[in-house]
Homo-oligomer: 109 residues x 2
DNA sequence: TTAGTTCATCGTAAATATACGATCAATCAA
DNA sequence: TTGATTGATCGTATATTTACGATGAACTAA
């Protein structure tokens, strides 16, 4: 009778925040987001040139970011153009800001 | 000749941000931080009462949070009092805020 | 000393994440 | 049609994460 995550009921906010954080939890994904948010590029091909990792690995990380909703992919044959999803990005900013406002002001320590 | 993370040089900011995000990437750790930041409690024992998980598992998550620097533990025999580490907490807030300011204003999409 | 309390650590099983090369599907150009 | 390019997906090996129960260490109280 193994106890699993499903036995604990998390709020939507806890789940969303954890999912966003998970998407940001690998340095190469931070790097990718930075590049996508920067002025320079939006194409996958450019990412594979800038990041010394196998193309399949980068594609895998892009998938993770897409599933977290942080980026969008737009097909522009034969390439794919990726961009920050501004709406979700704003939501992430709000979630993290709200959460990190808590600073233990109760002061029990 | 497997290529690994060590072949890519990440900035300190990328590494720090990813590490913070990793610490926040599990809903139960979000829950724990919320409880510690709240007015109600700081003791491990209270956490094990409030969270339906094995004591060893909670201890493991506390360790992860401590290693990320987000919390501090203070021995108060026979208990241990955990608190938010305000300094690191502020650093996290700054890092996330700075990073999430990027919103793709380049507008290539 | 003995027993109880509190929490960390160990050992372990199962799930997930991360990396790679190989291959497939879609599109464009010759 | 054929070949080239682009990027997703598959298969797979390894590492890490996550959960548990059992045990150990530190301290208090009887």
């Amino acid at each position: 009778m193994q106890r699993t995550l499903s036995d604990i009921s998390y709020s939507a906010e806890e789940i969303d925040l954890a999912a966003m954080a998970k998407a940001l939890s690998h340095p190469v994904r931070i790097r990718i987001l930075r590049l996508l948010a920067g002025e320079t590029c939006c194409f996958t091909g450019e990412l594979t040139e800038l990041i010394p990792m196998a193309q399949s690995t980068i594609s895998q990380h892009l998938k993770a970011l897409k599933e977290a909703g942080l980026i969008q992919g737009e097909i522009d044959p034969p390439k794919v153009k990726y961009c920050i999803d501004r709406e979700q990005w704003a939501k992430a900013r709000a979630l993290f800001a709200e959460f990190l406002k808590l600073d233990g002001r109760a002061g029990c320590c």
